[in-house]
């Protein structure tokens, strides 16, 4: 009995290790390796950012279904989980580069994870980020590209919104201190807001928290006593939802605004009524399709998933079709040729807008402002770059 039980337990433990390990979740191994082009995807599928990763994978899968071939070869996706962890992200990327030998990589939701993978993919595999907005992801790395705008622009958009639309003159910031995305965005917001108000002390309070924290009452109490007109809270969606909720419970009634990470179903699920009215900047809205590709994407996505797509889903879709386009232009999957083809991207029609990459490999695009209304993300405004 004892032996049977322990054998059973050992078996269960082994299975759970296998399941949790870095094994590719969706590689359809085919016999003829040469006829297949592998595209790696590293996204957070578990952990604090799982919802974001899943939204992006939805877009990539959809794109793969619509465009399954390039140069007459079948395109296979190799999806690995980076577990919402920077160290895991580097090893997930290494797995794609070394073991799977993919032609190109897409990922990741979360600038920290993309930055952790930067050195791994450098000089080896061209990589396209979908929604990682921190400028450092592509800076000094010719092999990393992205189809979204970057945080200096996003920070400016939200600072302008605070100053002009909300009439705010004093702002407080609560940021996820170990998240490069949040720190970067908070910094750019601060710079832009100080410039707009012409007041060096316009930011009255800055509070920090760590990924995975659940109690923000102390930080929010400090912010409340500083009496800001608006609170800028860039960070992961689950923590942000809890922050807004706890702020409302503490009786803080000034607007709380944030960045693109807010646009996940969990933000509304967890935040409930408390997040009503929260405003954030994002990449794309399904209400005003921009290109012919947007129409195809929206139609297919709605048919497949029966809901409105998130902006990051459209971006991930774009990352995939951009890579396919670049492979076609390069005429091969040779890493250097593919990298150069990607770098030359100009006026490419994606689902989330026209993509032109600048000298850093960043897309120059419009930002969209959305608000939570009755549990939905409602389009408010479009802001042009510079």
């Amino acid at each position: 009995m004892v032996r049977k039980l322990s054998i059973l337990l050992i078996a269960l433990l082994t299975v759970s290790l296998l399941i949790s390990g870095c094994t590719p979740a969706a590689s359809d191994e085919t016999a003829a390796e040469e006829d297949v082009i592998k595209i790696g995807v590293f996204e957070p599928m578990t952990g604090a950012n799982a919802a974001g990763g899943e939204l992006e994978v939805e877009g990539i899968r959809l794109a793969n279904r619509l465009y399954p071939e390039v140069l007459g070869k079948k395109v296979d996706l190799v999806i690995v989980d980076n577990k919402s962890d920077a160290v895991e992200a580097a090893s997930a990327a290494a797995l794609l580069v070394e073991k799977e030998q993919v032609a190109a990589i897409i990922g990741s939701w979360g600038s920290s994870f993309s930055m952790a993978a930067g050195d791994v993919i450098k000089d080896k595999v061209p990589t396209v980020g979908a929604s990682c907005t921190n400028p450092l992801v592509t800076q000094g790395n010719d092999w990393y590209f992205r189809v979204c705008f970057i945080d200096p622009f996003q920070g400016k958009v939200m600072a302008t919104y605070s100053y002009e639309n909300l009439g705010a003159r004093k702002a407080a910031i609560i940021q996820e201190v170990n998240n490069d995305y949040a720190i970067g965005l908070a910094k750019f917001y601060t710079d832009a807001f100080k410039e707009l108000t012409g007041d060096g002390d316009a930011i009255v309070s800055v509070a920090n928290y760590n990924t995975g924290d659940q109690d923000f009452n102390a930080q929010l109490t400090n912010i409340k006593s500083a009496n800001p007109d608006v609170i800028f809270a860039p960070g992961n969606f689950t923590e942000s939802a809890l922050i807004v909720k706890q702020a409302k419970q503490l009786g803080i009634d000034v607007p709380i605004i944030g960045g693109d990470t807010y646009e996940t179903p969990e933000f509304v699920d967890i935040g409930g009524e408390a997040v009503e009215g929260c405003v954030f900047s994002t990449f794309f809205t399904s209400e005003t399709p921009i290109t012919a590709e947007s129409e195809t994407f929206l139609e297919e996505y709605r048919a497949e998933y029966g809901k409105e797509p998130a902006a990051v889903t459209a971006l991930a879709y774009d990352a995939y079709i951009l890579i396919l386009d670049a492979i076609e232009r390069a005429g091969s999957t040779d890493p250097v040729a593919l990298r150069d083809a990607l770098a030359e991207t100009e006026g490419f029609e994606g689902a989330a807008g026209i993509i032109t990459l600048d000298e850093n490999g960043d897309a120059v695009k419009n930002a969209v402002i959305k608000q939570v209304k009755n549990g939905e993300f409602v389009y408010m405004d479009t802001i042009e770059p510079r």
């Binding site: 004892v2 039980l5 322990s6 059973l8 337990l9 269960l12 433990l13 759970s16 290790l17 399941i19 949790s20 599928m45 578990t46 952990g47 604090a48 799982a50 919802a51 899943e54 201190v177 170990n178 309070s205 509070a207 920090n208 928290y209 760590n210 995975g212 924290d213 659940q214 109690d215 009452n217 102390a218 930080q219 109490t221 400090n222 409340k224 006593s225 689950t238 939802a241 809890l242 909720k245 419970q249 503490l250 009786g251 969990e266 699920d269 967890i270 409930g272």
Partner: protein, 297 residues
Amino acid sequence: MTFDVFLQHLTNGISLGSLYALVAIGYTMVYGILRLINFAHGDIFMMATYFTFYSIVIFGVPWYAAFLAVIVVTGALGIVLETSAYRPLRDAPRISIMISAIGASFLLENLAIVIFGGRPKAFPAPDFFTEVIRFGTVAIQRLTFIIPVMTLVLLFVLLYLINNTKSGMAMRAVSKDYETSRLMGVDVNRTISVTFGIGSMLAAVGGIMWGMKFPQIQPLMGVMPGIKCFIAAVIGGIGNIHGAVIGGFVLGLAEILLIAFLPDLTGYRDAFAFILLIIVLLLRPTGIMGEKIAEKV
């Protein structure tokens, strides 16, 4: 800092501290009786929040019935875990059981990822608990009053159980020397199962309260509270149930007041808890309430 703000910080601290205390009681009870650090305690706590989520959201059970059912089911889960992961190792060296506990913890976490999915879910907190009551500028959730009361009630129930009942006597006997207890006719296996059952039920109560206060659940949510409550139990003197409650309050208040008075150090909140643990272990290894334990030779 005005007095109002200080009061708000104080209530925040008490509310967090009583949650730590609630979970730490279960931790320390299992340790006190078995001398086993049950690493899976935090994960049993996580399972309880998922059970609550499924019974309320998917099966539409009213919350009071769901809470009771979840407490019972979680207790059963604790007993199953004890029978399958710890009982076979009863006569093995202590370290084997500890490794088995770590394994059980990983098993539960990964099972939860596979079964429940990695995406966080919203915990269905009944409005009755989350309603906010205002005293001037100080805002307090009703839950903030309920949790400390719950903690104290459970503390006294548990003390009564251990000191005044027959199974309690068996538990104390097993904790002193289980070979001898076995010779005296105490059913050691049953006693240990009961201990685990009660410990897991306490984890369930803690999980439900935690879920209502921080309404976001995910498979790894038990890890940090598990560690924090372990620290609380050690600060109070591990194995001592009064100590766990005191340790919980000390840790909760210390964390909040650190942020209140030194906002620049907020990012080091978790590190601060560990530093506190190290200091306690260096200066007073048996914790605030711990007695000197004579080394058995």
